[in-house]
Symmetry: D3
Subunit: 229 residues, 6 copies
């Protein structure tokens, strides 16, 4: 099982890739597929607008094409799941997005999920995606910390805001599970869960978990709807 | 009122732009905004995959930026509404997509809308979008004619298949209004409606209608959620 | 194109008809269909209860029948869309309701729409209609200013309350677009939008915009579900 | 307990009132409220269009006002529940509609309900109502027998068509309970259920059942949303 | 009509059975089916967890089997409707659950129903059930009084908390009808409704009402989906 | 990491446990948690009715309690997820159900999922669960092969029927991914997928995949809604 699960951070901020790498380390096993976290150098420092989302699709597809032969699966580590559908068309490998897997995993941990976004402008984009996913009946609310991707580097301030937002999600909106809505929030999962007392999902961990299963089982790699064309 | 409503055909097939231009001609008025239909030369001959959709966002935004000063509004004339959300972020003008306007217009003409797609692979993409739009409760079915964009040039074959699919939408799935799911189908609206006996929506006409209103009224040009950031 | 789009105000308050007339003036064009705003003299001063709504259907149908030969289209200018479905059965012209068109237009301007109602008793009626329209997944909230139709004449008080309610819709319920839920609120659109910083839809303008398109394009005039009977 | 439950047949066909009367007879009890089935002489022979529905609201309200002092509750015995909401505003008594009660009762008997309509034109009207009721997730399909209200008098033909339609609802659309979508179908309940082998709901029986409870318990008579105004 | 409607309180608290018995007394009639309220001695003092719910299914089925020959119908008087589906499989009689009937009855009294639960842990269980019932579009909120079943015995404290919670449901969440989410709350219906000014549903009364109809009409006793197996 | 993931087959048919064991073998890793598949000797040969489902909760909980100290996580290997919620209350370990995980995994592989059930009577039970899960907008259809659990032993007949049903799900109902609705179907995944040409999900594999992630990551073990009580 020498092929690799590639976790692609589509922004260019290396410290976020490092945080992702630390987050998925417990999922590495001696006889399992290697897990490599890579940074999309062509990406912006943070993916914050729909323009950012759509803009990194082409470089992401190019990077993934170069990795295809060596890839066991791809995980796109941005909460907007940029390029997930076109990469499923392009690649013969399983392709997983962290927003999709993070939300679906949350559905096994609580009845109503709340989401912590980075910026207010992320929220309509998330809502469109949750509608496309068909999970509105399980949705509590999506609230932002008002910090851009690179501002998450200030850990103390970020965690404090995440705790504030998480409490509102829990107490006002009835969320009984929370999804962190940015790959850059990975290191805050444990302290946030401790403070809130309800499960907190780190979405890259959720996606890599599912990717490992696909690779080991040898299924899930055909393109979406491929059998219908 | 000298600024222009730009209807951008994001594929490179000039004959489709010509068909769109003919379709919107009745909407032109002497004292209203000019309506110009332009072709995105950088686009593929037809937009058929999610990769095509995402791939033309960058050239579309570039083209729209060049037109911004002279633009009264933008209409994106592809049933996947590629680049609609990022163009709303980029531009200060109203931005309308033909899928969104076509489906919403259908909701004023029948209780359950059916859609005629070009290819089977378009259908999951449409379904995701209808979910994001939140209109599933009004949705009857989405069926394809099995023809690529450029194959629509064979008018006789295309119309025959559209009639077949339209009848199934009406009789099996209970659709009482049909939306044509490709800008390249514009010239078939009238004969199709005659055959089916239920309203048929040409989505570019639906979108340009709404764009004219926005321009004349002077509202609807601020970016989605812009007031929240 | 000498036939006329008739905008029928189904209440008997002439000042509201005048406000509607002013609101649709920018939509008039030299070579387009004339737009005439008429008052239903048999209606109550304001349509505030379900009884009012149902009670004006018969006089509305009678008035529309008298106008049919000269009509290009009908717009019913009351946010409960009274008589819209039976008029679609009776008339061969396009028939549009301002609530339907106002809400659908809002869906192109934001992800979650809020509604400003006149009275608390209007709200369950609106909710039933939004359910029938199938747009609940995009609905933020519907809150009232607590003023009857004729009380809207006090412009200062009305605008102040609309701003208060609009802020709650935006900040507490997450609305990123607002629909004004009464034809009598037309003159408050611009100042309200300025205060809220998010798009505000005047529903009669939305409906007349769509009516003009139908008339120019020559479609959309057959009764709902007419092809099925 | 001398006040009477009035079951109002809003069409003028006396034989249908007689059928309703027979259907509710088992619900009469010596010490319970009398149940009187009355015909709205001003109604059309059958209520088949939205115009019919809206047109009988005024005479229905007038008739109910005359009965108010003697009434324990009102049941509106037409599957479009005409006038139900305005009568709830007008009357201090419980007001129940047979479509609402018939569908809700079906939800206790199966997971997906099918409806047998009289005419194809009834179906969009039913769908709007089911949307307003918020029961689409439990809805299988609504199919018509293609017979007007007065044509139901031909019992043999009607039952044969109801059985055909019921089988399609059950076998093609997965309905496991069927609601008869017209008060004039009351006498076909037992034979239809025998043929289909799944529960069949007669909606007037469902509504009168609930009305009796309201009267005996002394609650449920306040107007909808009355406490909010 | 000598067979009996058995209302089974599946917890072992006799005072709750007594409260239920008082609540259904107005529904008893001289010539109708007797209504007997019985206590499941094997049940816990209160049913508060999913474990409690599932744990009483077996003794409930056993008790119902013993009563089957003498039973006209069964009503399960616990707001989690424990054992309702398996009892429908086991019994030839109509089987009604108080949560199902209580919520459906509320849908005839208001547009958005709120629920008063006993404990916070009940809420996710209720939400799952409302999802299975498909009534989320009519759902306002479900809030708890924070009291266990046996604590409801302190009437003054319980009523005070129910009024507080009811006001939040009405004023913050827009509920215009409230369902009491525990059979042990029966005696608080009238004072709560008086305080809130909107309809309050006592769910056991709602279920027994429907059971009486089934018995008198002689239908509704076949198992759910029985015709499909 | 010596604690074990226990996959509990709640029926007593050892050959099904053996099939599950074979299915999850690729998921075992040298340095990962052991995965043990155990049979609930007290269960029926197959879990086919709601009574079966509810009836095995008590023995399942008892068995799980005995395993708790040695358990890293629990997977309940029956497509009705019997006892999942009460086991989440009882245990401090992650508890996953195969229906929940199978359906959620399918949502990452196609836009509309179809389900192959064993018996027609399973379908309403599944539909209730999909409603509780809130995934109806992604649901295509649920059809049965008409075979009881033990009849699945006849592999040739079972596979033939699964292929027939799978084709109807794909071609008539538009499913682009299929979930096998019984743990006893595990060995048919690969040949079924080959025949259908669209992804097929084996739900026990989906659940064990997610269980491994939870164990390795050390989160997801707190009871549902535990933080709210």
């Amino acid at each position: 099982m020498s092929k690799t699960i590639y976790v692609i951070n589509p922004n260019s901020t290396e410290s976020i890739t490092a945080g992702i790498d630390a987050a998925v380390t417990p999922l590495r096993s001696a006889d399992g597929p290697p897990i490599a976290c890579v940074t999309l150098a062509d990406g912006p420092p943070g993916i914050q607008s729909q323009r950012d989302v759509d803009g990194i699709v082409a470089p992401l597809l190019k990077r993934a094409a170069a990795l295809e032969d060596d890839a066991a699966a791809f995980v796109i580590a941005c909460f907007s799941d940029p390029g997930m559908y076109p990469l499923r068309e392009q690649s013969n490998r399983p392709v997983l997005g962290i927003a999709e897997c993070g939300v679906l995993t949350a559905l096994t941990l609580g009845q109503r999920f709340g989401v912590i976004a980075i910026l207010p402008t992320s929220i309509p984009r998330h809502l469109r995606y949750f509608g496309a996913m068909g999970v509105n009946d399980r949705f509590a609310a999506d609230l932002s910390v008002g910090l851009g991707v690179t501002e998450l580097a200030d850990g103390e301030r970020t965690l404090a805001r995440m705790i504030d937002v998480g409490r509102i999600l829990r107490d006002v909106h009835g969320a009984d599970v929370v999804v962190m809505g940015c790959a850059g929030m990975a290191r805050f999962r444990a302290p946030l869960e401790r403070e809130l007392g309800i499960p907190v999902v780190e979405p890259t961990q959720a996606a890599v978990t599912m990717a490992i299963g696909r690779v080991r089982l040898g299924w899930g790699g055909r393109p979406l709807g491929g059998g219908l064309s």
